[in-house]
Symmetry: none
Subunit: 421 residues, 2 copies
């Protein structure tokens, strides 16, 4: 099956935004064993869009088009689709109903922009968009099937996962000589990409049916394993063997697989053991709290986070003694330990975590320059511990890796001592 | 001048990496008044690369190609360039000298891969790469000039800035009828895209030299204005007139322009007036604190954030009276007001903000279903106020829009009463 992508929008050809939608879709299609053959990006220019639609549909079986479906005057992708197919646009009663329903539920009046979104090429099939007003539209053009999706990433991804991929999967299943694939993403932390590469690449020759790939997703690095074989059972077996071998060399650096992200994995570990958690953050400024609370149900485990961005609040909220601050400064082992213990006591949780450091660009001392972060863990049955880390990069990167470091202190503790006293 | 980009590499069509090189180059070209007409991405497939080179050079004056210049077996972009031009590849003595020098300086022996990089299409011009071994190659194909760059972002950017853009600038200056462009991005909040469109599109006919465009960047919507004229002065004047007219209808919904983001803009407003801020968050879980503290120098204004994810911490850290929680519940106007006032008192700041609500997917009551959020503002010289908002969407979206709503309460207050008592 030949698949091409077409992305439209001036913002994509003027450097305003990076096309992450295609990266997402390519990855999902690759998981199904489909390698995208070509991606074309054009601006909001009618003849360019129409021309690109005609070209892509002459080459490909499936063309997935994004952008230009919204309510504004520069949204005219479906006009181009109609022109390419030589059919008129017409208002679709189903789409109009969906839009009216959505607008009504938000107390908004239908306006001309909303009505634009209900006009689709004659003969095309609309599919309701669960996240927005503009529908997914499916159209045949020559031998190709065209999918038109909104460019808003949240809507795009929901429609890719919910509507596009299931259809592609169905078509693939009916192809005669297909290659079967099996895929696993192993998610690691605290492992630089070059080290990850060095550790697993010696395993590759023993697993000839498996392609080893790497992906950096700071602060994590991911190992992608893809097995190909003439049957699904053989692909699954080859993948399982390669995964097992990789897990042996990577050990606890692997925190999860596939779509399982870090924060839910850590919260699940805590929740299963009946533990609770509180966090005191200085330089990470709420990053840890917001990451954990983004997970539905986090309130079962996470009880409180103190963003103590001033000395006063370090004392007031998490009980750091003023003389510790005075003697050792706010960025010190002693302060980090007092913060972790203090927030644990204040919230009455099983564990307390803390971070204090210099995220930059200003601040720092000769002994503790920008990038120095103290991370501490307090909990039952062991002496509180603090680790000092030196992180390279800008403010965002220091904050990101500091948050990851202190959470990993807790995860490694839980792995080492699964049964808490 | 018509410019197209062509990017090659399997990693770009399988979701392994996102094409940020193009974003960079498009932005730099747009600064010169050049809008890229098309970007094409293909995998490491010889006929696909050769075909795309021929197509692009038939349409464009300049084609900037990246990837596939390195030492490994899957680097064959210059082979395709030679095939497209109908000329052989030949070893270039200058390039060989540069590579030998570079390898020698690193104590590395020349290997067959290194020699591959010295072979360029007959008649093409090589330019030394200051950051790597593979040279920039410039080739004429039909009426088009083709630039071949390595895909490694560091090398790509250095060659774009040092070699490609100066040449493009020179050609532009010698064009008889060139178009000059001026660009402004107006950033709005609390304005749905369809409403933004409705408000500004009636202005468009009065500004024929300006293209109006829109971009959604939740929770914000942005208006893009691009003026085109035969001189820079006319483009600037046309842009200024359109911008002024849009600002009149959009009023305070415009919080900033171009690269100026929301959190820095709000912190600057507070900082200029000598104000300080503290935040008590329940359902947003630290999102507001982390957004504000991501800005360098935030500690001048932001003193503390309490992520009070349990009733106990709402009382302990920000002094919500237990009877308020019992009588009105944690998600209520009374609790939100007590949180805003309490965090302001605890931190001793000019202003206190708070958010409490049901982000979902669980929770909610018949009166306050999932998506209901109470936002409150406390400060000097006015009675604390609370706004109840009903937000649609998933947990992430509710949190994002709730954070935006409460920050905007503060920004509007500052705009309405710039001189604080």
């Amino acid at each position: 099956m030949r698949v091409e992508l077409l992305c439209t929008g001036d913002e994509l050809v003027t450097g305003l935004i990076t096309d992450t939608n295609s990266t997402y879709l390519e990855g999902r299609l690759f998981d199904l064993g489909v390698k995208v053959e070509r991606v074309t990006v054009v601006g909001d220019v009618r003849p360019d869009i129409t021309g690109a639609l005609l070209e892509a549909s002459a080459r490909a079986d499936v063309v997935i088009v994004s952008g230009g479906l919204g309510p504004t005057a520069d949204d005219f992708t479906l006009e181009c689709a109609a022109a390419a197919a030589g059919v008129p646009l017409e208002e679709d009663a189903r789409v109009l109903g969906w839009i009216e329903e959505r607008y009504a539920s938000r107390g908004m009046a239908i306006n001309p922009g909303a009505l634009r979104m209900a006009r689709i090429p004659t003969g095309a099939e609309p599919v309701r968009n669960p996240q927005g007003s503009a529908p997914l539209v499916i159209q045949k053009l020559g031998r190709a099937r065209l999918f038109f999706l909104p460019g808003v990433p949240r809507e795009y991804r929901a429609l890719v996962d919910g509507e596009v991929l299931p259809r592609v999967r169905g078509w693939l299943a009916s192809e005669p000589h297909r290659t079967f694939r099996a895929f696993r993403l192993l998610r690691t932390v605290r492992l630089p990409e070059s080290v990850l590469n060095q550790q697993v690449m010696p395993l590759a020759p023993s697993h000839p049916r498996v392609v080893f790939g790497f992906r950096t997703h700071a602060p994590e690095n991911h190992l992608k394993l893809m097995a190909e074989a003439p049957t699904q059972a053989e692909a699954d077996a080859a993948l399982a063997a390669a995964e097992a071998a990789c897990r042996v060399v990577l050990g606890t650096h692997v925190y999860g697989a596939d779509a399982n992200e870090y924060a839910p994995a850590l919260l699940a570990l805590l929740s299963r053991a009946g533990h609770t958690l509180a966090v005191a953050e200085s330089c990470t400024g709420g990053l840890i709290a917001q990451d954990l609370t983004a997970v539905p149900g986090a309130s079962q485990v996470f009880l409180g986070g103190a963003v103590v961005y001033s000395e006063k609040m370090k004392s007031a909220w998490v009980g750091v003694p003023p003389d510790v601050l005075e003697k050792h400064s706010a960025v010190s082992r002693q302060t980090a330990l007092a913060m972790a213990e203090g927030v644990r006591t204040a919230c009455g949780t099983t564990f307390g975590l803390s971070v204090t450091g210099y995220a930059g660009p200003g601040g720092g001392t000769p002994e503790d320059p920008v990038g120095t972060v103290y991370c501490a863990l307090a909990g039952p049955g062991f002496e509180s511990r603090c680790e000092r880390v030196s992180l390279a990069g800008d403010r965002d990167r220091v904050r990101l890796f500091a948050a990851s470091h202190v959470l990993e202190m807790l995860r490694l503790h839980l792995l080492a001592a699964p049964v808490s006293p």
